[in-house]
């Protein structure tokens, strides 16, 4: 049984996938999984499994198209979501979430820098984006997490400058 927050998050993921599908169709042809997520949010994980249930395992393996997961972001709760900002092969979000309890996605927000971020229920943000990697000689995906933190006083002015 899916919990309500999971369904809500899945709906957002579906919306992101749909948005991604529309905005970057030239770069990323929608996959079977994309269509299922967009069309029926609550059946993200169940539909492909159910469709193959009546087939022998070998036949299912032969008939089932290979899932293109390159535009999916694995979440710490085991579900997946669309990557943002056209990222391909982004590392799972849980890798960088840290020891904080998982907090579900509640919205997508675009910053003034033009970067889309997932907003989480606890006020955290996360995103994926492609960046140029000179060391690799190619673009590569980053997975990024920002948790809200405490504040601290500002350093006395010109301390470092005074030391120069």
């Amino acid at each position: 049984m899916r919990s309500l927050p999971t369904v809500a998050a899945a709906a957002l993921c579906g919306a992101a996938m749909f948005s991604h599908w529309q905005s970057s169709a030239a770069r990323c042809a929608p996959t079977l999984l994309d269509a299922q997520i967009t069309d029926a949010v609550v059946t993200v994980g169940d539909a492909p499994r159910a469709a193959r249930a009546d087939l022998p395992a070998d036949a299912a393996a032969e008939r089932a198209p290979a899932e293109d997961r390159s535009h999916l972001l694995e979440l710490p709760d085991g579900s997946s979501c669309a990557t943002l900002n056209g990222a391909v092969d982004a590392a799972p979000l849980g890798t960088y979430w840290g020891p904080q309890p998982w907090s579900p996605i509640v919205a997508i927000e675009r910053s003034s820098a033009g970067i889309d971020w997932y907003r989480h229920a606890d006020g955290s943000f996360s995103t994926t984006q492609m960046v140029w990697r000179k060391d690799l000689g190619r673009m590569a995906a980053m997975t990024r997490v920002a948790h809200p933190g405490p504040v601290a006083p500002i350093a006395p002015p010109d301390l470092a400058e005074a030391r120069r």
């Binding site: 890798t95 020891p99 006083p153 500002i154 470092a160």
Partner: protein, 368 residues
Amino acid sequence: MQSFPLLTAAALATVAVGQVNPFVFYPQDPERQQVTCTSFVGRPWTNQAAEALMEIDQRHFRGVADANGPIRLFGVYHWAADERLSTVETYDLVIRNGAFGAGPDMSPSAEFIRIANLTTPPSANPQRGTWILSDGFGISGGLFLNSSPQHYYVGVDLPANPAWPFTDGHALFRADLINAGSGALVGENHRAGAPNPTWSGRHVLPPFATPWTYILGPLVTSPNLHVGGIDPTSTRLGAAGANLGMNGLFPDISGTPRRDGFLVRVSDNIAPFGFVAVGAAFGFQPPHYFLNLLPGTLIGFSHIGDGTGGVPIILSLGALTNGALDIPLAAPGSIATALQGTDVVLQGIVWDTNINLSEWTNAQAVHL
């Protein structure tokens, strides 16, 4: 560095990574402890452009991000203080080699990686606030170095911002050294004469060492080991406990009047309930790969023996709880002042008994 079969190293490169650990050198563990020791939020060179650089020097640390010889870095972690959250801040990540002498090599060719023009998240809040940022390079796209440089630098490159600190701008959390001259009531606690641990990397003028530590460091898969100095006469931590930064690296055991003690803190997000063994040696030992020390695979190299000079001295065994374990090793007043000038090196193993996978922590020196 002892060579290791390339095939195994390559296989390790493809191992799925569940979590990463920020290797941060700061008085408190920013992931699991309430941070009360922060002196200020500040920038490496006031409001001018410069890189805030954390130094990883083999005189103090070895085996950070050890992937069986190669160094593998998965991103950069830092706490970004923003004087106005509603305007996004732009910054670069940089990891660069050290210069031939002290400090960073600021030439572009010394950059192992630079990721430009990252920005902070959106916010409608016009007040000051903080983002705890984990900027991941990606798993297949982690940064590989063939071996650990003698000293290298992990940093955040901040553009000039004349609005800082009055109305806007990005700064980092820092803990000031006692001799920083900033008037900080909390911060680092170390013995007199300890070197400055971080650097301001300027692009036109020479870099200079800065008298504070930052909440800043690489994201790695090796478990962390930090030595915490215990000085019962100090209130600079802002709370009870041990100083995991400069007090652990440079404790004062002179007896005039301090005679600090120390503990070891092992932390790991990957096996947060793993079994822990901690050992020691006098000085760093030649790196050694143990093939059959534990059941299953043991990742990384020992820097506390037994390359040639004897087996590691096993000090303590235990288990992580929620990713951390503190192991008291020397009570204040218990270390003989005659040991001044001695280097003790501590290193541990975190063993995930569920999958029989174990990994060496980094090794850290205590310069007594």
